[in-house]
């Protein structure tokens, strides 16, 4: 025989060893499109606060050195958008889209860029300045409070309405959902 079966066995064994230490995510091999948002028994591990949940009062550590509370913002605004940024190319694409296509249409909504990767407010401010998003309100997520609360990561976009209820908590994608959610806020 031209090919020794042993080599195939080695490869299979290696695949098996991978799957033992880190189970292969079958969700990608057989993707599921079922809406499971309200199936409590299938709640995933990293859900955080969901759409419909109320948000406790939060403190924002702004890059300009000031602090602001969620309740105070919502006294003056119809809602808040929080975008989790690590100042990456994808983040910049999203932030540009918000800047030019969404923010101008919603003057009564506060738009926050939430830096969850910098160690200090000065560092967050440096990143905000270097990337040129000084026309946004930006804040540092001290101690990962918001990251843990919402399970935020790169591109996570949160919308909170005037009653402190979450209207959106998901990836930004193409911005369409954010537009739709904001349009529905009274």
């Amino acid at each position: 025989m031209l090919f020794d079966k042993k080599y195939f066995l080695y490869l299979l064994a290696i695949l098996y060893s991978f799957s033992c230490s880190n189970p292969l995510p079958l969700s990608n091999l057989f993707p599921d499109g079922t809406d499971k948002r309200n199936i409590n028994s299938e709640n995933p591990t990293y859900s955080g606060l969901q759409v419909g949940n109320s948000v406790p009062d939060l403190t924002f550590f702004n890059t300009d050195g000031t602090t602001e509370t969620l309740s105070n913002i919502l006294r003056l605004r119809k809602g808040v958008v929080i975008y989790f940024t690590m100042w990456c190319p994808l983040c910049e694409t999203h932030m540009d889209y918000i800047r030019f296509n969404i923010k101008p249409g919603y003057p009564d909504i506060e738009f926050y860029l939430m830096d969850y990767v910098s160690a200090t407010i000065t560092g967050a401010q440096d990143n905000q300045t270097a990337t040129g998003y000084t026309d946004f309100q930006a804040a540092l997520d001290k101690n990962f409070t918001l990251t843990d609360l919402f399970y935020g990561t790169m591109g996570t976009t949160i919308v909170i309405d005037k009653k402190s209820v979450i209207k959106m908590n998901e990836d930004f994608k193409n911005g369409q959902r954010l537009s739709n959610v904001l349009a529905a806020i009274p």
Binding site: L2, F3, D4, K6, Y7, Y10, L11, I14, L15, F18, N22, L24, P25, S27, N28, L29, P31, D32, G33, T34, D35, K36, R37, N43, P44, T45, Y46, S47, G48, M86, W87, C88, P89, L90, E92, T93, H94, D96, Y97, Y116, V117, S118, A119, T120, G123, D126, N127, A130, T131, L140, Y151, T153, G155, N169, E170, D171, N174, G175, Q176, R177
Partner: protein, 327 residues
Amino acid sequence: MNFSKKNITFAMIAFIAVMAGFFFPLSAASCCGGGSSASLVLPKFARFLYDTSVAHELYDGFWNSKGQYQKDPVGSDLRQMRINMGAAYRVHDNIQTFLSIPYVVNINQYTGLKNTTYGAGDITLGLNIELFNDIRCVYRVLSLDDLWPAIYLGAKVTVPTGISPYDNIPNSFDITGLGFYTFDFGLLLDKTIKSWNISIAGNYSVGLQRPVNMEYGRYIEPYNITPGDRLNLTASTGYTFTFDSMDSLTFTFGYGYVKDYFSKINGLENQISGFEKHNLLVGLAFATADQNNVIKLNNTFNLPLNGWGINKPATITTILEYSHVIR
């Protein structure tokens, strides 16, 4: 042809090492099919090849949507390591198949956050059809036929065995795969005349639409997503020094262009997706006299200049690779 005892022993050691937690990637060298050192392409007439490689990718700034080069956040250090194991096997005089199994280690360090994760990457299976019947490396050109290159038509499927944003994971640092089935179709032209080699390759990738009901461990309103098609073009040239022992050392210089077109969400183009990037490559390959053992060191990098990319990180990728051919 049977494997020698020595080869079997080597494979056993590799297997044991992998099981012990080390990682051996597999790839191939095509020396004297056409003469280049493209990975996972068997040399003409060779039966089997296995290849292991370790790639280290350092992120070094990025281009924004306007093509302006920008530095990474202050104090950040972002890297990815990939260990690949691959094999190529000839199933017909002119048809070879291959399999590549990657393992990914993500190392991300910002001033306020450190994260290291690892996991299986996306497995790739494919085949290459050789549109030539004899070795196309020539020492001198005596006829027009001597100028005819080795031509390969290739197709491969990438299986989403890695961890994607659509899995039950807490954040983007855990991603080791794309999450899509993708199909690639490629053409490779390869010609060696005496000590000089030139390779031109083109590849077009199409991904399958998939449903999504979860993002980073959070169930969301379901939608369908289709990844953007990808175009990949590369051209390289190399020069080989042959020692008295007939061992050889090849220097390669190349250029690559990659473009991702718009992805689609629920059938509509996502106008803020896609990217573009220009790459440069320098490489060094040592081959034993019988060309059955090849060690390669390749470095792919970008020039940190405006216009050399759009929407994409600039990276410096160093790959150390060992290939063994069994004829």
